[in-house]
């Protein structure tokens, strides 16, 4: 009988600890400084939709036809923002994000509120068309 009670207590504690995991996963963030250079990078339009999975399993999409404007540069690439769609990265919390592009690929995200960089595990090729804005 005692063993059964112990077993139940252990099970209960296990479930409780598991519940705590709700608040335990966060996206990777690297504090970074964004620099606005005099040489602004050209804006671009996405010619193809890009679907990708964030490191914590949430899916995101960059829509075809969205226009992206240069905001500045971080040490990981150039930062672009769009008024045509909302982009967030998500784990337990949700953060508004701008894209970071390097070598024609989406390599991660700049989080303007946290002033940090969040890398994307699998970089994605962006099909970009330069535009004048």
């Amino acid at each position: 009988m005692k063993k059964a009670v112990y077993f139940l207590i252990i099970c209960f504690l296990g479930i409780l600890l598991n519940a705590c995991a709700f608040d335990l996963f966060h996206i990777e963030q690297i504090p970074t400084q964004i620099k606005s250079t005099n040489l602004s990078k050209p804006s671009f339009e996405l010619e193809k939709e890009v679907n990708f999975v964030l490191d914590k399993g949430f899916t995101r999409k960059l829509k075809q036809g969205t226009k992206w404007n240069y905001v500045g540069t971080v040490s990981y690439g150039d930062v672009f923002r769009s008024k045509d769609q909302i982009l967030t990265v998500e784990a337990s919390n949700i953060h508004e994000a701008y894209i970071v592009v390097s070598g024609g690929k989406l390599v991660g995200f700049y989080l303007p509120v946290e002033r940090s960089y969040s890398p994307l595990g699998d970089s994605q090729i962006l099909y970009m068309k330069e535009i004048n804005q």
Binding site: F22, Q85, I86, T88, S92, I94, E96, P112, V113
Partner: protein, 146 residues
């Protein structure tokens, strides 16, 4: 005895539903009376377009200040100067949304609910303007919490 029990259950259900009901004008009725935002501010609409977990109605905080309650089918709005903002709700855990607000910009924040251990978790999500405008139509104005 059975009929007393039935009556008790009926009263309880009515009482519970009454507690969940959201009063106030619907967005479509209220919208004409909403004043334009001041030129140097932006506006954030916060709404909860679902009755799921209606009994769970945590406070909604904006940069640590309580600005309203997460009530099913309720909405409210705040005007703020441009800058960085964090919207947070807390039940058994705290969930946060960080976002920017530009001058003259209107943003829509939906309050969703997910499964929790003892109670559901209400979490704020930034949504596209078109989606927000459509979903908020079913909600009623509940005002800010002072």
């Amino acid at each position: 005895m059975k009929s007393i029990l039935k009556l008790f259950l009926f009263v309880m259900v009515v009482f519970m539903l009454g507690g969940c009901a959201t009063t106030g004008p619907k967005f479509t009725e209220f919208a004409p009376s909403i004043s334009n935002m001041a030129p140097d501010t932006g506006r954030i609409y916060i709404y909860r377009p679902s009755s799921l977990g209606a009994a769970v109605r945590p406070d909604v905080k904006l940069n640590g200040e309580v600005i309203g309650e997460a009530i099913s089918y309720g909405f409210f709005y705040v005007d703020r100067t441009p800058g960085n903002y964090e919207i947070m709700t807390s039940t058994e855990v705290s969930r946060k949304l960080s976002m920017t607000l530009d001058k003259g910009q209107t943003r829509y924040v939906r309050l969703n609910i997910s499964i929790g251990f003892f109670v559901g978790h209400v979490y704020p999500e930034l949504v596209e303007d078109e989606e927000g405008k459509k979903e908020i139509e079913d909600c009623r104005y509940i005002g800010q919490k002072k």
